[in-house]
């Protein structure tokens, strides 16, 4: 008798599992379908270039300055970011955000741990003239405090 009771309980719980799964699938499918449709609709009109910058522009950070730096970088470059800490959000300051974007966006250029290991200096809201280094090339983004400076050999 106990065996029959156990078998009945096993059958009942197995049926309950099937019902729970079937109801979940039935309820979830329309939600998933709408989610896929809405996510597609949100981004389908973006160009490839816009998508490549979207993680930065949605913060929002001006990605033009990263494009400005990227245009000057050469393979094998190691950059050092000259930038004062500036308040930006509750979880990261502007320098942290800039570094995080640069790590991905400026590859294959790698961030150097210090200016001594760098080949170029990327300045943002800072003037490279204060660094007491010799540069073989320097470009400024218009009148902004944004510079690309290539360190002279041994500079």
């Amino acid at each position: 008798m106990a065996g029959v009771g156990r078998r009945a309980a096993a059958l009942a719980t197995a049926l309950a599992v099937v019902l729970a799964l079937a109801y979940s699938g039935w309820k979830d499918l329309p939600h998933t379908w709408r989610l896929m449709r809405s996510q597609h609709a949100s981004y389908v009109r973006y160009t490839t270039a816009e998508k490549e910058r979207l993680f930065g522009t949605s913060i929002p950070m001006p990605m033009e300055q990263f494009d400005f730096w990227r245009a000057e970088l050469r393979p094998g470059d190691r950059y050092w970011l000259q930038m004062p800490p500036e308040p930006f959000s509750t979880f990261a300051d502007k320098r942290q955000i800039t570094r995080a974007i640069a790590h991905l966006y400026l590859l294959p250029a790698i961030e150097a741990p210090s200016i001594d290991g760098a080949t170029v200096v990327l300045s943002y809201d800072a003037n490279p003239a204060t660094l007491d280094r010799v540069f073989s090339q320097q470009v400024q983004a218009g009148q902004q405090q944004i510079y690309f400076s290539r360190l002279a050999h041994g500079g």
């Binding site: 156990r6 078998r7 309980a9 096993a10 719980t13 197995a14 309950a16 599992v17 099937v18 729970a20 799964l21 079937a22 109801y23 979940s24 699938g25 309820k27 979830d28 499918l29 939600h31 998933t32 379908w33 989610l35 896929m36 449709r37 996510q39 597609h40 949100s42 981004y43 389908v44 973006y46 490839t48 998508k51 490549e52 979207l54 993680f55 949605s58 570094r99 995080a100 974007i101 790590h103 991905l104 590859l107 294959p108 790698i110 961030e111 741990p113």
Partner: protein, 455 residues
């Protein structure tokens, strides 16, 4: 985009071919049509066969694409040499039709995932961890392999102790596409979801009904949280999928009364891969090893202890080198010190973190808007296991679920991060492996097929 997508799909076809070779070499797939259902596990097995060595060799500056090419060519050539398919014509057999319900559910899964394809090929990566951690590591491995090891150790490109499984897979995708494309690589994540039902069927086919496998798969891969989290390119869902497949293989092996080494092999491959996808993956893989030992002991079959030990050794052989590497270079996360888990005074002082963690993780697990009734289905399946006295399966599944959930709780307990923001940012993701892992074992509990040894 078409050229990039074609390259990515060709690379994924190559994973399947390499995986098939990996199954042919030990004789798990032969000319015998009775072994052909195992081909369903070829694709994820191929990913593991390529990604694991590529991840480790990337640490000594070997480009991931070079490792992939060499490993792939060697495995395929060895399988060709062993199977000699040119000697006799292989007679293809018409596949069995399976039950109507299973076919219908399979069709629904296929339609949903194919509909999702255009979304995965269109949506860019936006979420913080996605680009600060995973995409940065992946692009670094792809574009600067010689500088990558030192840069990865610096911690500037995402936390240094995070294992490289996912970045390596993405990096291989960029190589196949011919350029870095953070949008199209999304298709790689969808392909991981697509493989889950097929591989699960392959692993459980002999011991579970096709329609329960299809139903569990549908509930997992078509859950809004699964596809949404895959769109973010985070590692949590890929981790959950590999955990689920590894557990399904381990559970199927545990309930089997005859030795089935291919299941043990899949347990090793998929849980080993899980250990290289995220730091929690190491915890889930270790829990899987303990669960396998527990189920073997519960089965009181001493002859299988050696096999179980070999399986556990296999998982550790894949995951431990990363831990050794981290330990040699002193790579530790600033988020927590696992040593605190062994200090009763520390745990006592931070006991106020336990209850909020329990309630938040429970709320996430039981969130019907995200997961339907999946957690209830898993708990009911365990109850069904008790009622039908499936003790070995219960020992495996119960041990893993308790250890994995307990381990997760412990990571929040010993974390030095403020609890509220930590839970807010992660609790919906860290529970994925618990749910997918539980769901993957579920078909073995519900209307199981008799053991093939009894038929």
């Amino acid at each position: 985009m078409a050229a990039e997508l074609a390259g990515l799909l060709i690379a994924n076809a190559a994973y399947a071919l390499v995986g098939l070779s990996l199954l042919v070499l030990p004789g798990w797939v032969t000319r015998d049509p009775a072994t052909w259902y195992r081909v369903g596990a070829a694709y994820p097995a191929g990913i593991v066969a390529i990604v694991v060595p590529a991840s480790y060799l990337a640490l000594v500056r070997v480009p991931v694409s070079l490792t992939a090419t060499v490993v792939g060519v060697v495995l395929v050539a060895a399988a060709l040499w062993r199977s000699k398919p040119w000697q006799d014509r292989i007679r293809l057999r018409r596949p069995g039709k399976g039950s109507f319900v299973a076919r219908l559910l399979g069709l629904v899964i296929a339609v949903v995932l194919l509909y999702a394809l255009r979304t995965f090929a269109t949506r860019p990566f936006l979420e913080w961890d996605s680009w600060v951690v995973w995409m940065s590591k992946a692009r670094l491995l792809y574009e600067a392999p010689s500088a990558a090891p030192a840069a990865l150790r610096s911690g500037d490109y995402g936390q240094a102790p995070y294992p490289l499984g996912l970045p390596t897979l993405e990096s291989l995708g960029f190589s196949a596409m011919g350029r870095f494309d953070g949008t199209v690589i999304g298709v790689q994540f969808l392909l991981l979801a697509m493989t889950f039902p097929i591989t699960l069927w392959s692993l459980l086919r002999a011991r579970a009904r096709a329609w329960t496998i299809a139903l569990a798969s549908l509930t997992v891969v078509c859950a809004p949280q699964i596809l949404y989290q895959l769109l973010t390119r985070y590692a949590d869902v890929p981790l959950g999928l590999f955990v689920g497949l590894g557990l399904a293989a381990g559970a199927a092996w545990a309930v089997s009364r005859r030795s089935d080494r291919w299941l043990l092999g899949c347990f090793v491959l998929f849980l080993g891969m899980a250990g290289l996808l995220k730091s929690e993956g190491f915890l889930f893989a270790l829990a899987g090893c303990v669960a396998l030992a527990a189920a073997t002991v519960a089965g009181r079959d001493r002859t299988r202890l050696a096999e179980a030990a070999a399986g556990i050794g296999g998982v550790l052989a894949i995951v431990l080198p990363w831990r050794v590497y981290c330990s040699v270079y002193g790579l530790a996360t600033p988020d927590y010190d696992l040593g605190n888990a062994l200090r009763p005074s520390y745990l006592h002082d931070h006991a106020d973190r336990v209850w909020p963690t329990v309630t938040e993780l429970s709320a996430q697990l039981t969130n019907a808007r995200s997961w339907g009734f999946l957690v209830w289905a898993i708990l009911l399946a365990l109850l069904a296991g008790v009622c039908s006295a499936r003790w070995r399966l219960l020992a495996f599944a119960g041990t893993w679920l308790v250890l994995a959930a307990g381990g997760l709780l412990l990571t929040y307990w010993v974390s030095v991060l403020p609890l509220t923001s930590h839970l807010t940012n992660t609790s919906n993701r860290t529970i994925v492996s618990l749910l997918v892992g539980g769901a993957a074992m579920l078909p073995l509990f519900v209307f199981p097929r008799p053991d093939p040894a009894d038929r």
